[in-house]
Symmetry: C2
């Protein structure tokens, strides 16, 4: 239980607020069925997400200049459709599939929990997604953000400190007045190192049968909840 | 009447969405009454706003480095409390009064009109206010923005093109897919020069008895409406 109240709460998004895996498997499978393209769509989605951290790391290390997540996703997709022998996709198809990341669905507690939290706190995503991706996702999923903190506002990907500290700077708050909420212990460790408050809740099915971590809080985060509705309750919202 | 539909609509804020003059005169007058400080609060508010464009211009011209509007407001306030012989204000008082710009009230049509427009379009302020000012104002006034485009995201003040084009870049839209909505013909002229769509509606009481311009559309803006609710109607929202 938090002993202090934050002024703003920012949320990791992929996995924490939206179910990227279930959403993309459903979308790509339906696309394949409608187009008569048989493929291991589930395998492709898992491989797509597996390419995420390595591609971010290429930007974080300076090997690549700043590149928006939409463009990193697209480069990975282009490689994976070849690896998974998905044939017959037009440029328009590839653009449509890549925008699947803009159409992810929320976990059941996300919209009701965020709606409660919004009454009392400034809320926003602090995600490695770019602003366009996050704004379109919010429209699709009904996420009631006050402000969208896309990584392109900072030119940095989490866990770079420029992201966590950038939220405090833009909101004119002290880092300790901002709470980072995530289903990933590593994200929270980086936020805490920058002085932010922290809230954890697990998303044990995020990676489906491949989930290997983040089943529980690994340290004494300021709040440990079961989901976003429970977070709202624990914060008195 | 627009022949094309935008994907996103961004709004000038001071005067267009919120009644800065009425709000600040009410707030400062109430503050003065509660504290027993007699002063020409109305004159101070008008002088504060009169300092706005010259102070922006000092940043736009390069005379000052990038400075947030909150800090420009504060520098003007410090000067004006002396000019208006307002004595007895503490540092906390000055901070509180300066944050009055975060607590401006909407015109009556703003929240219902924006709520309708939000169902169909991405909406946000594109204001010379900084993100913290605009996010706090939205919380105070109930403005249902999808995203807050503060000038500190761009390090530029309108009418610099970096602001209008920055919205299109962050939303990954063509400039022609973004509509600028304002009660100020000059703002719309700059937006149109960048390729944005334009919508005008008048706010003839914005400057009270000192209003000297912007009583009507001065050219063929893409949409000319009577207020934000009428804009929603004209855009089919």
């Amino acid at each position: 239980m938090a002993t202090r109240a934050p002024r703003a709460i920012v949320f990791d998004t992929f996995g924490t607020v939206v179910d990227w895996r279930g959403s993309l498997i459903a979308e790509l499978s339906a696309f394949g069925a409608a187009r008569g393209i048989a493929a291991d769509w589930t395998g492709l989605v898992d491989a797509w997400r597996a390419a995420y951290h390595p591609s971010l790391q290429r930007v974080r290390s300076g090997e690549l200049p700043w590149t928006r997540l939409d463009d990193l996703h697209r480069a990975s997709l282009d490689r994976l459709v070849a690896e998974f022998h998905v044939a017959g996709l037009s440029e328009a198809d590839l653009r449509h599939l890549n925008r699947g990341w803009h159409r992810l669905n929320p976990w059941p507690d996300s919209v009701p929990g965020l709606t409660r939290l919004k009454r009392r706190f400034l809320i926003g995503p602090l995600s490695n997604g770019n602003v366009a991706l996050l704004a379109n996702m919010a429209k699709h999923a009904g996420l009631p953000w006050d402000m969208v903190f896309g990584s392109d506002l900072f030119g940095h990907y989490k866990p770079d400190p420029e992201t966590y500290l950038g939220v405090a700077r833009l909101l004119d708050l002290e880092p300790a007045e901002v709470m980072m909420a995530a289903a990933h212990n590593g994200d929270l460790a980086a936020a805490r190192a920058c002085g932010l408050m922290t809230a954890f809740f697990p998303r044990p099915t995020e990676y489906g049968p491949h989930q290997a971590r983040d089943f529980k809080a690994e340290t004494d985060w300021d709040v440990v909840a079961t989901d976003i509705e429970d977070l709202a309750t624990r914060l008195g919202a």
